[in-house]
Symmetry: C2
Subunit: 150 residues, 2 copies
């Protein structure tokens, strides 16, 4: 049996997706601030850099986090001032800078990461495993297909 799907159905899905996303994001922001005195954007940057021990270009960070270049510049400026990241020159290209976690940045991120993961699991706790699996797959495909249209 074929289920139809109007543009209003897709609009409704978008609004629900946005609402879920904001709810989770707001709660994580508040807990990160309260427990670790860190902002969500800074945590996101630290998490991205932690995945790449060899560092990332400013433009790679921008693309990965889906925020503007200028935005990344500001956050890295503040993280660098606090000694959690460093900018290094890339061999043979004086335009690019590679950003890396410092030892301090790595240690501080790792102290937060476990608790953050626990929070996420708790906040998504009302979803049954089958739905976690289903949503994860569908959204992963959605993200992979994204480039092909927008």
């Amino acid at each position: 049996m074929v289920t139809d799907c109007t543009s209003k159905d897709r609009l409704r899905l978008w609004l629900r997706l946005l609402r879920s996303s904001r709810a989770i994001e707001n709660e994580l922001r508040e807990r990160l601030r309260r427990e670790f005195d860190v902002t969500l954007p800074r945590f996101d940057v630290l998490a991205a850099l932690h995945r790449e021990p060899n560092g990332m270009l400013m433009s790679e960070l921008s693309r990965y986090l889906m925020v503007s270049n200028g935005n990344v510049t500001g956050i890295i400026d503040r993280l660098e001032a606090d000694g959690q990241v460093v900018r290094a020159r890339r061999d043979g290209d004086r335009r690019a800078s590679i950003v890396r976690l410092t030892e301090k940045g790595r240690t501080e991120f790792e102290a937060m990461a476990g608790e953050h993961e626990t929070w996420v699991a708790e906040l998504l706790g009302t979803l049954v495993p089958d739905d976690v699996e289903k949503l994860s797959t569908v959204l992963h495909d959605f993200n992979l297909n994204w480039g092909t249209k927008a």
Copy 2:
């Protein structure tokens, strides 16, 4: 057969949800600016007010859009300065103000709403109808259950 689900699985889902949400939001922001010269936050406020012809309290807007009170104050200030909304006193309570669309605001929103809906349908176009239905249901339940834990 029972599918297990670790905290890493839920973390992965969260990252994918966030990525989808940001991708769609960024694209809508850009199109709204390009086609209608309006910011996304302003569009969101206009959309909320359009659903409530009798107006909304500042605090209702804040709760509905899941942003802070101060944030709503700023956006409404700018919308009011541009004549798209008005603040009115609520009978018997001089603390509260009811915000309503003006005729101008309503007209301008309605000129954008159709195209906005078309864009969303297009951007979610890679999802097959069954998945739209499934995600919509799961996320709706998720949102309903949200209050019971966070």
